[in-house]
C-alpha cells in the first residue's frame, strides 16, 4: 500500500486512467419508445437558441471549476440529439474548444435516429465538428421495428446509414435483440446482415424491460409475451459473440463490438472510470476536484433545468464519492470491458486488498481469469456479470 500522502496524489490523478470527456444531454424525442427509460420528452416546439445559450452557460460554469484539461471526447446523447439544429451542435462544440484544449484524436459523437429528416442534417453536423455518429437502427425487419415502437422503416434506416457513411469516417449503429418471439435463427440472420453493413462499431443490446416504461407496464400486466427466458437469452448472447467474431467485430464491452482500433472512446472513459462532465437535463457526471471525486446530476425536467441554469447552475447538490464507493464503481465499470480491471488500481481506491477468496472461487468456476495484475471476465462470466461483480465486491 502506498503511504497516505502519495496515495492522495495517486487518487487525485486516478481519473487520468480513463481520460476526460463531455456529455451533452438533449432531452427531446419525436416519439417516446415503449422500452426506453432515458430522460426524454416529446414537445411540439423547441427554442433552439434558448437551449444553445443554456448549454453555453453550463459549460462556462463547469469549465471555470475544471480548467486546463485536455478533452478526449464529446458525446451528444438523448433523447434524440439529431433533432438539434446543426448550429446548436456547432455552438456547443465551439464553446468546449474555447474552454478545453482538444486532444488530437478527439472523438465527437452524436446519436441519431435513422429518419430521412435527420439524415439531411448529417452534413451540417459534420461541418460543425461532429466526427462520429451512432444510429439507433434497433432492428432490420419492419414488423419488429413496429413492435419496438420505432417510427422509421428498415428502408429509411438503410438510406440514413448510407448518408452517414458518406459524411463520417466512423459510424456505429445499435440493434436491440432478445425481442418478443425472436428465434435464434431469426436473430442470426439479422445479425449477419448487420455485421455485413457495419463500418467499425456496433452496439448489440438485449431488450431490457424497465420499470416506468410502456413495456414495463405491459410486462407487469402479463401482456408482454414471447420474451426469452434467461436460458434462451443466454443462448442468444453466446450466438451473438460467435457470429460477431466471424466478422472481426469482437466484443470489447458487454454489449459493444468494434474493430480493434475503433471502440467508442467516449464510452471507454466511463468504463475506464475517467472524469466526465455531464450537462443538460438529467445528465450525470464524475469529476475530480482537489483530489476528491464527485458525482454530479442535473435537474431532470427540461423546464426545471432551464430555470435552474438561469439561476446559475443546472446541477443538483453534488455528492462526494468515498473511496470504497469509487473502488466499487471502478470495478463495476471496468469489469464490463474485455481489457479487464487493474487490480492495483482497484486496491489503491479501496485501500484494501481485493477479496482473494472471491477471486479464487470465481477463477475455479471459470468466470474470471487473472493475468499480469488484471482480472478479465471470461465468456461465461459476462453472461452473469452482475452476480460475478456482487461476489467480488461482497462485504
Amino acid at each position: 500500500m502506498p503511504s497516505a500522502n502519495s496515495s492522495m496524489a495517486v487518487l487525485a490523478g486516478d481519473w487520468r486512467n480513463g481520460g476526460f470527456g463531455l456529455y451533452v444531454h438533449w432531452p427531446f424525442c419525436e416519439a417516446k419508445c415503449p422500452y426506453c427509460d432515458f430522460n426524454s420528452h416529446v414537445v411540439r416546439l423547441i427554442d433552439q437558441t434558448a437551449w444553445a445559450n443554456a448549454y453555453l452557460r453550463e459549460l462556462d460554469r463547469v469549465a471555470a471549476e475544471i480548467p486546463c484539461r485536455v478533452l478526449n471526447s464529446i458525446f451528444f446523447g438523448g433523447g434524440t440529439p439529431s433533432l438539434m439544429h446543426p448550429d446548436t451542435v456547432a455552438t456547443v462544440i465551439e464553446a468546449a474548444r474555447r474552454h478545453w484544449p482538444f486532444a488530437n484524436d478527439i472523438e465527437i459523437t452524436l446519436e441519431a435516429n435513422p429518419g430521412s429528416v435527420e439524415a439531411g442534417r448529417f452534413a451540417g453536423y459534420r461541418d460543425g465538428g461532429v466526427n462520429r455518429v451512432s444510429i439507433g437502427i434497433q432492428a432490420l425487419n419492419d414488423p419488429d421495428l413496429r413492435r419496438l415502437g420505432r417510427i422509421h422503416s428498415v428502408a429509411e434506416a438503410r438510406a440514413a446509414f448510407d448518408i452517414a457513411r458518406d459524411c463520417f469516417d466512423r459510424v456505429s449503429f445499435d440493434l436491440i435483440y432478445a425481442r418478443q418471439d425472436q428465434t435464434l435463427a431469426d436473430w442470426e440472420a439479422e445479425l449477419r446482415q448487420a455485421l455485413s453493413m457495419a463500418v467499425d462499431h456496433l452496439s448489440l443490446y438485449q431488450l431490457t424491460i424497465e420499470n416506468g416504461t410502456a413495456f414495463g407496464d405491459r410486462y407487469d400486466a402479463g401482456k408482454l409475451r414471447g420474451l426469452p427466458d434467461d436460458d434462451r437469452a443466454a443462448d442468444l448472447y453466446a450466438l451473438t459473440q460467435a457470429v460477431s467474431a466471424e466478422f472481426g467485430m469482437n466484443r470489447y464491452e458487454v454489449s459493444n463490438h468494434a474493430h480493434p482500433d475503433a471502440p467508442s472512446r467516449h464510452n471507454l472513459i466511463y468504463w475506464r472510470y475517467g472524469d466526465y462532465v455531464g450537462i443538460g437535463p438529467g445528465a450525470h457526471g464524475r469529476i475530480t476536484l482537489n483530489g476528491q471525486r464527485y458525482a454530479t446530476e442535473a435537474h431532470r425536467a427540461p423546464g426545471a433545468w432551464l430555470a435552474a441554469v438561469d439561476n446559475g447552475s443546472g446541477e443538483k447538490p453534488r455528492h462526494c464519492i468515498d473511496m470504497a464507493d469509487q473502488a466499487d464503481e471502478y470495478a463495476m465499470m471496468s469489469l464490463r470491458l474485455t481489457e479487464g480491471m487493474d487490480i492495483e488500481r482497484y486496491q489503491t481506491l479501496a485501500n484494501r486488498p481485493i477479496r482473494s477468496n472471491a477471486v479464487d472461487k470465481l477463477i475455479d468456476l471459470g468466470m474470471i481469469r487473472q493475468d499480469q495484475g488484471r482480472i478479465f471476465v471470461q465468456d461465461q462470466g459476462f453472461m452473469i456479470l452482475n452476480a460475478v461483480i456482487a461476489e467480488l465486491l461482497a462485504d
Partner: protein
C-alpha cells in the same frame, strides 16, 4: 378509555384473542335492592392455554358462555364449555354482537342446544359494544349463579389463577381466596415448592389496581410479594400462610409441559445477545415457555424453545420481533418424540437433528392428539381428505344442523406445522379446530435429511413416517429448487434417509444476469443494484458454497396438498 379493556397486549388486541387471564371486580346494585360484589375472570380460549382455562374455571362458581351470534359455536367453544361442565358450573348462555346485521340469534341458540346440549332458550342477547343486554346479564349472574362458599376462620387456602411480571412491582399474582383471609404484610407459602414470600400489597382490579386491606373467601384479587420471576408462581398452585397453613392443596395442579419445539435464530447473527436478552425477559413473564441454546451449522447460534402449542409459539415469536426488534428465523416446529434405545433407556427428542444413531435405537413413539373439527358440510370431504393425508384415524362424525363435527386421532407432528393453515384454506375459513393431547404411540418414524450441494442442512432435517417419506422428500426438494436462487454452478438437492437418497432435484446454474446497457448516467443506478444484491445476500444463509434464503427453512416444509 380503550374499548377492549382487558386484552392489554397489542397481540391480543390485534388477533382478537385473550392470552392472559384478566379480572375485574364490580359492585352491582341489583333489582332486589341489594348490592352484590361480582368478580369476573376473562379467560383465554385457545387450546394452548387449556390448563390456564381449567384453573380459571376452578376459581369461580359459574360461567357466562359467550357465543358470537354472527359466527356460532366454534370448536374452541366446545372445549371450553366442557371444562366448565367438568368444573360443575352453572352455565348462562349469552349471545353477543347482536347489533351486527349478520347476527342470527335463533340459529345460534339452536346450535348451542344441538352441539353442546345445554338449554339455550333463555340465552341472553347482548351487544357489548352498544350496551344492549348488559343489565340483564348482570341480573342473571346475581340470580342464576351460586354465591361463593368458604370459611373466614379456616386456614388460608387461595388458588393462584395467573401471574405476570410488572417492571415496578415485580410479579403480580392473581388469586382466588377459597378459605381464610389474606392481609397485607403476612408471610405466605406456595404449596407446590414451599417457597415463602412476604406480601407487600394486596388489592383488586376495578379494572385499575386498587389496594384493599384484606381479601376474604370468594374474593378475587392480586398480591405482590417481591417475587422476581413468574416461574416461581405456578398457575394452579395453592397459596396459604407460612404458619398455621392449610393441610391439603387444592386439587388439579400440574406444572406446564411444552409440547411444541422450534429453533429461533437471529437473522443477523450479531443480534444473538439481543435475542438472549429478549428470550430471558419473556421467560420471566411466561413460566410455560422454555429455552436452551442451540447451535446450527446453517443458522449459527440461537435457541431451541418449547411452547404450549402453535399459538403460543406464534405469540412469543411475534413479541420478540415486535417488542425487541429482532428479525428471526424460525425453524419448522417439531414435537417431542420418545426414542427407546436398545439398552432399554428412553430419550426425549426435541430436535430431529439430535436423532441418535439408528443402530442404537429400538423404536420411536410420537405424541397423538384428539382433534375436534366443526365444519359446514359442503367442506366435509376436503376436511376428511386432509385428515387422512395427515395419518389421521377417524373416531367420530356427527351432524348438528348443517355442520359436521369430526373427531380424529392424529399424530401431533402432522398438525404442528401447517395443518391449521391448510384447514382454513380448504374450508375457506369456515372450519374451527381444537385438540387435546392423548398420549404417545409407536410408529414407523425416520429422520429425513436434506442435502444441498452434497452437504446435509441440519435445520431442514425432519421426522417423517416411513411410508410417507418419499412423497415428503420429493415435495421438499422440489420446493427447495424453487426457493434457492440459481448459483453460478449447478446444485444437487437431495432428500435422504440414513445414507439412502430418496428424492433428488438439480438446480441448474445461473445463465444470465447482466445489465445490457451501462453508461455514465447508469453508474449510480448500477451501484444501487449492487447494494441491493449485497443486502439480498445478507438475508441468505451461507451453506458450504450455497446461499439459502431464510424463508426456505420454513417454506420447504409446508405441504401444499
Amino acid at each position: 378509555m380503550k374499548q377492549q379493556l382487558l386484552d392489554a397486549m397489542d397481540i391480543e388486541r390485534e388477533r382478537g384473542i385473550t392470552i392472559k387471564a384478566n379480572t375485574v371486580r364490580i359492585d352491582y346494585k341489583a333489582d332486589d335492592g341489594e348490592t352484590y360484589v361480582l368478580n369476573l375472570i376473562d379467560t383465554p380460549g385457545h387450546v394452548d392455554f387449556a390448563y390456564e382455562v381449567s384453573r380459571s374455571m376452578r376459581a369461580v362458581e359459574g360461567s357466562l358462555l359467550v357465543v358470537d351470534s354472527t359466527q356460532g359455536v366454534e370448536a374452541q367453544t366446545l372445549a371450553n364449555v366442557y371444562q366448565a361442565i367438568d368444573a360443575d358450573h352453572e352455565i348462562v348462555p349469552v349471545l353477543n354482537k347482536i347489533d351486527l346485521p349478520a347476527a342470527d340469534c335463533d340459529r345460534v341458540a339452536e346450535q348451542i342446544e344441538d352441539v353442546i346440549g345445554i338449554d339455550a332458550s333463555g340465552a341472553l342477547r347482548v351487544s357489548a359494544k352498544t350496551g344492549i343486554g348488559i343489565k340483564e346479564t348482570l341480573e342473571a349472574i346475581v340470580k342464576l349463579l351460586p354465591a361463593p362458599e368458604g370459611t373466614r376462620d379456616a386456614p388460608l387456602k387461595a388458588m393462584l389463577v395467573d401471574s405476570w411480571y410488572d417492571a415496578y412491582l415485580g410479579v403480580i399474582v392473581l388469586v382466588r381466596i377459597k378459605d381464610g383471609v389474606l392481609r397485607k404484610g403476612e408471610r405466605i407459602r406456595m404449596m407446590s415448592n414451599g417457597s415463602v414470600h412476604h406480601v407487600d400489597r394486596i388489592g383488586v382490579f376495578r379494572p385499575q389496581m386498587q389496594p384493599v386491606d384484606e381479601l376474604g373467601p370468594g374474593e378475587i384479587g392480586f398480591l405482590t410479594a417481591s417475587i422476581k420471576q413468574v416461574r416461581d408462581t405456578r398457575v394452579g398452585d395453592t397459596i396459604t400462610h407460612e404458619k398455621k397453613g392449610c393441610e391439603t392443596a387444592l386439587p388439579g395442579f400440574k406444572p406446564s409441559v411444552p409440547v411444541v419445539f422450534c429453533g429461533l435464530f437471529p437473522v443477523d447473527s450479531a443480534q444473538f445477545e439481543d435475542l438472549r436478552d429478549a428470550i430471558e425477559k419473556l421467560a420471566l413473564n411466561d413460566a410455560s415457555f422454555s429455552y436452551e441454546m442451540e447451535t446450527s451449522a446453517a443458522l449459527g447460534f440461537g435457541f431451541r424453545c418449547g411452547f404450549l402449542g402453535l399459538l403460543h409459539l406464534e405469540v412469543i415469536r411475534d413479541r420478540i420481533e415486535r417488542e425487541y426488534n429482532i428479525d428471526l428465523i424460525t425453524t419448522a416446529p417439531s414435537v417431542v418424540y420418545h426414542v427407546y434405545m436398545k439398552d432399554g433407556s428412553m430419550r426425549e427428542l426435541h430436535n430431529p437433528a439430535d436423532m441418535p444413531d439408528l443402530t442404537h435405537v429400538d423404536h420411536l413413539e410420537e405424541p397423538r392428539i384428539k382433534a375436534t373439527i366443526l365444519v359446514p358440510d359442503e367442506f366435509l370431504g376436503d376436511v376428511l381428505k386432509l385428515c387422512q393425508e395427515r395419518r389421521g384415524i377417524q373416531m367420530d362424525l356427527t351432524y348438528a344442523g348443517s355442520r359436521a363435527m369430526v373427531v380424529y386421532d392424529l399424530p401431533l407432528n402432522e398438525v404442528v406445522f401447517d395443518f391449521y393453515d391448510r384447514l382454513k384454506s380448504v374450508t375457506k375459513g369456515y372450519a374451527s379446530f381444537d385438540y387435546q393431547m392423548t398420549g404417545y404411540r409407536q410408529d414407523n418414524l425416520v429422520k429425513m435429511q436434506v442435502l444441498v450441494n452434497d452437504e446435509p442442512v441440519d435445520a431442514l432435517s425432519t421426522m417423517v413416517h416411513r411410508e410417507r417419506a418419499e412423497m415428503r422428500g420429493r415435495a421438499m426438494v422440489e420446493k427447495l429448487k424453487d426457493l434457492i436462487p440459481r448459483h453460478m454452478f449447478k446444485i444437487p438437492i437431495q432428500a435422504a434417509i440414513g445414507g439412502k437418497v430418496i428424492a433428488r432435484e438439480t438446480l441448474s446454474a445461473m445463465r444470465k444476469d447482466v445489465t445490457a446497457k451501462c453508461y455514465g448516467g447508469d453508474v449510480t443506478r448500477k451501484k444501487k443494484l449492487l447494494e441491493k444484491q449485497k443486502a439480498g445476500k445478507k438475508k441468505m444463509r451461507q451453506f458450504g458454497k450455497v446461499d439459502i434464503p431464510q424463508e426456505a427453512f420454513i417454506s420447504a416444509l409446508k405441504m401444499d396438498s
